[in-house]
């Protein structure tokens, strides 16, 4: 029992060390702009444009449900225009970034782990090195930069979509007028609501892509190893999103 705990502790410390080492390698690759600039554009398109439909789909239905649940909770006790407040605040502060983050952990994190894992086990990463490329510059930095820069953009669209569907639901099903919805939306609004959500989503984008790259590049053992890496990337990313979510709430709210 004690041995097992000890082994677990040692492997946890080693994992932290590996992440630290990986991060320092990534920072060292930063000046190599000539290598990472072009692939970053490609990754920004893949992460941003290709992920947008999933994020918007989730946000649209979240907006509908939020409006209906708010009205259900408020009935009689709280003025109905608070539906706008709840939809706006919840989408901006919590559900926009977190739901998009969790969905993209599955889509982006898993696909990066699978792609890099396959490259690793088929010696494409070694081939890249023999062609005098640093995998950190050519593979990792473009993905992490794309994730960090594009996640806030995706989440901004997701927040807007959620609020719009919440507003449309209020109009169609709750008999709430547009001026009342907007009144509620503006009621406790602070500029911090926006940047807090976007900062969180940037940190989620950084984490998801970093985990996808670390797990992908440490893949061993063929197709089974790629499958294992993909699962690990999604699980670790999802856990870290929730931990980061709590961290930012404690630090910034």
């Amino acid at each position: 029992m004690i041995q097992a705990i000890g082994r677990h502790a040692v492997s946890s410390v080693e994992a932290v060390g590996r992440v630290g080492h990986f991060l320092s390698d990534m920072l060292r690759a930063l000046p190599d702009v000539r290598t990472w600039a072009r692939p970053t554009i490609v990754q920004m398109r893949r992460v941003g444009v290709d992920s947008l439909p999933v994020a918007l789909f989730i946000a649209a239905f979240t907006g509908v449900v939020l409006a209906l649940q708010a009205s259900y909770t408020f009935t009689g006790a709280v003025p109905l225009y608070f539906v706008g407040t709840l939809v706006g605040k919840t989408m901006m502060l919590e559900l926009g970034p977190v739901l998009a983050g969790l969905a993209l952990a599955g889509r982006v994190g898993a696909s990066m782990a699978a792609e890099l894992g396959t490259m690793k086990v088929t010696e494409q990463v070694d081939a890249l090195e023999t062609l005098a490329y640093d995998p950190q510059s050519y593979l990792v930095l473009p993905r992490v930069l794309a994730g960090t820069l594009m996640f806030p953009v995706i989440v901004a669209f997701a927040i807007a979509t959620g609020i719009v569907t919440g507003w449309l639901t209020s109009l169609a099903l709750l008999n709430l007028s547009t001026p009342d919805f907007i009144k509620g939306l503006k009621l406790f609004y602070q500029f911090k609501d926006i940047w807090f959500g976007l900062l969180k989503s940037a940190s989620f984008g950084f984490t998801i892509t970093l985990i996808g790259c670390i797990v992908g590049l440490s893949t061993r053992g063929g197709a089974e190893g790629v499958g294992r890496s993909t699962t690990h990337a999604v699980v670790y990313s999802a856990i870290l999103i929730l931990v980061l979510d709590a961290f930012w709430a404690v630090v910034l709210l």
């Binding site: 088929t122 010696e123 494409q124 070694d126 081939a127 890249l128 023999t130 062609l131 005098a132």
Partner: protein, 241 residues
């Protein structure tokens, strides 16, 4: 010149290389033969610094590979072409882009890159396949593209990792001819890791047998064919006992 100096390497406690020493002279092709799992590919990866030795070193043009920093390794790798066992082509890039990637890293202009890609594909008899994706090619064609990718760099050294493994005899002969042609046309130094004796006899100036982590015997093709060492004899004759 490439020189293995008392190279040791273990993985998860299993000793693979146990004092490998071998010198490869300029403009010759040396075939390293040996049983599967004896560390032939591991030895090759030490030459380009893909693996770090536990002890000993590989000296390339007077430089100890394990002491090079990232910039030093980058410079070293620019003079070496590496042909991987399963070609290791980048499957998201076309054949031409696969060849161009290494050239772009060397800072060549787009016109020269195009010219070199065309030349290299012609040398491996694959002209016209530049726009195809690796997944559309047969195993033999992929290996030839792998060789073309190495040739296009005009390296001083080419390292071949099991270039004929898994190919039919005719395609193997095509690859062998290609390796000979590469040496004759470009005058590069070659290291070929293989357990295909027909290939070793065709392309090797010298043959070295790796056994139990070190070189058991090294000599010309004739010397190896006439060897009296029972281990080497058994291997080259492919006898079960």
């Amino acid at each position: 010149m490439i020189e293995f100096q008392d190279l040791h390497k273990a993985f998860d406690g299993k000793q693979v290389l146990q004092g490998l020493s071998l010198a490869i002279r300029d403009a010759e092709t040396v075939c390293i033969i040996g049983y599967s799992g004896t560390g032939k590919s591991v030895a090759l990866k030490h030459i380009v610094g893909l693996l770090h030795p536990d002890a000993g070193d590989v000296i390339v043009d007077g430089q100890a590979v394990s002491t090079l920093d990232r910039d030093g390794l980058t410079e070293l790798r620019q003079g070496i072409g590496y042909v991987f066992q399963f070609a290791a082509l980048f499957d998201s890039l076309t054949v031409a882009e696969n060849l161009a990637l290494g050239l772009r890293r060397r800072g060549l202009g787009e016109e020269e890159i195009e010219e070199r890609v065309r030349e290299a594909l012609a040398l491996v008899d694959l002209s016209g396949t530049g726009e195809q994706m690796p997944a559309e090619l047969s195993g033999g064609m992929r290996k030839r593209v792998g060789i073309a990718r190495a040739i296009a760099l005009r390296p001083r050294y080419i390292l071949y990792d099991e270039p004929t493994t898994g190919l039919d005899p005719v395609t193997s002969a095509v690859i062998d001819r290609l390796m000979v042609r590469t040496r004759e046309h470009l005058g590069v130094t070659g290291v070929v890791v293989t357990h295909d004796m027909r290939s070793a006899y065709t392309v090797g100036d010298r043959i070295a047998m790796l056994y139990e982590g070190r070189i058991r015997q090294v000599g010309s093709v004739e010397e190896i064919q006439g060897t009296e060492d029972p281990v080497v004899r058994q291997f080259i004759e492919g006898r079960a006992e």
